[in-house]
Amino acid sequence: MGVATTDAAVAIRGASYHPPGGPLLVDSLTLDVPRGLTLVLLGRSGSGKTTTLKLMNRLLDPTAGDLQVEGRPANEWDPIRLRRHMGYVIQDVGLFPHYTVERNIGILPAVEGWPSVRTRERVHELMALVGLDSTLASRYPRELSGGQRQRVGVARALALDPPILLMDEPFGALDPLTRAELQGEFYRLQTRLGKTVVLVTHDLREALLLGSQIALLDGGRLAGCYAPAEFLSTSDPLAAAYRNAFAAGNEQHRLPPAPASGGVR
């Protein structure tokens, strides 16, 4: 379980989020995001994964409890500085449709007032990093494939070299082949950059492949926090249910079970 350590990039302490007139979305959650590792928030729809992510970059503020980011209470951070300290990638990517790839990736350097030459260099560096051909720089998002758009989304989030990266089902909208390809690339990228990553997903395969730790959420509460190997052996009924659903899918179609560590590594 999430043991309180001081070297957490993000430390959530008994945080709840209860919007006025709505259901309790996050219920007294205590969780550490270890520095330099990837924490996966796994759970079904409505389990509070996305809300937890939004509490981290103050798109939402907890209605009870608190959070610390880099050892400092989140509510003492200027929300804008806090968000620029954390990259943000969402499932629908949310690229600016009226901006070219280059301007999309360069939006944060531009608003930070970087000289345009430096911004351009950074953009091309990032495009190479995420595997985008530099000829795509002048394209508009609608001219790109889903996988390319997602790469632009990741590059945009990395523009200011934030130490923390928040990803909300970043590969959810992709076809299975592109998804596997991007997951594998992201794993290598993460190994190289050593960012602290919080990744929201409902896909166990993705959780096992990318997560250093898997926090299982259920009804806004933390059901357990496991290393991938622990997740596969724990007797927690919810974790077992995930394993069974995963295994059933494989058996049904007479496929060999997917290796737990993921073949793409």
């Binding site: 798109l59 968000r83 943000y88 939006i107 989304g153």
Partner: protein, 211 residues
């Protein structure tokens, strides 16, 4: 054909009245844009306020334009000069399509795009100026286009209170039962409206290309 007689005989007067007409309509739409843009952004953020403001502005359209011009006689300073009354009334009419489209344009921006922009750390102002307004621009220009055509049309009625413009010829023609005179006012007004509509339509199309 005698319909064109007056038009051909008095080109100078037609030009002068057309310029007056364009000035009245243009100034009115200009004011409506200056008011409508910030107000539209404000009501896009507050649905409760939007209902009140749009309801109020909408109710102005219920008042017949001729009557509205008449009511404004009683307003201090405005009532002193006919063009002032005309511009105020026309601005009020032009406000509705602009307000409605600014609001709809902002609300129509893909929520994922706004969400991503906020999550990346854009300030509310940066989000508005760099993302929301540019993406809403096509819809906003469509509203301005409706406002311009509306204003050019209603400006002809402003001649009834002596504000000038091409309506003067129409009212004079009506009084004198002179078709050629009516036509000399109506044709340029129609051409102006059509030209404004087509050119703004072209501009709107260009803006929507990337959205």
């Amino acid at each position: 054909m005698n319909l064109f007689d007056y038009l051909i005989a008095h080109p100078h007067e037609i030009v002068t009245l057309s310029v007056e007409h364009i000035s009245l309509a243009g100034l009115s739409v200009g004011i409506a844009v200056l008011v409508g843009l910030p107000l539209g952004v404000a009501i896009a953020r507050r649905p409760a306020l939007a209902r009140v403001v749009l309801g109020t502005v909408n109710s102005i359209h219920v008042v017949p334009s001729l009557a509205l011009f008449g009511f404004l006689f009683a307003v201090p300073w405005i009532g002193d000069r006919a063009p002032r009354m005309a511009v105020l009334a026309l601005s009020l009419y032009a406000l509705l399509p602009i307000l409605r489209n600014v609001c709809a344009g902002i609300l129509g921006v893909d929520p994922a795009v706004v969400e991503a922009g906020r999550g990346l750390g854009l300030t509310a102002r940066q989000l508005l100026l760099r993302v929301e307004l540019p993406l809403a621009l096509g819809v906003i220009v469509a509203g301005i286009r409706v406002a311009v055509v509306l204003a050019i049309g209603i400006t002809t009625i402003a001649a009834a209170i002596g504000a000038g413009g091409l309506g003067e010829l129409i009212f004079r023609g009506l009084a004198m039962v002179n078709d050629s005179l009516i036509f000399a006012g109506a044709l340029p007004a129609a051409v102006l409206a059509l030209f404004a509509d087509l050119s703004l339509g072209w501009f709107e199309g260009r803006l929507r290309e990337h959205v």
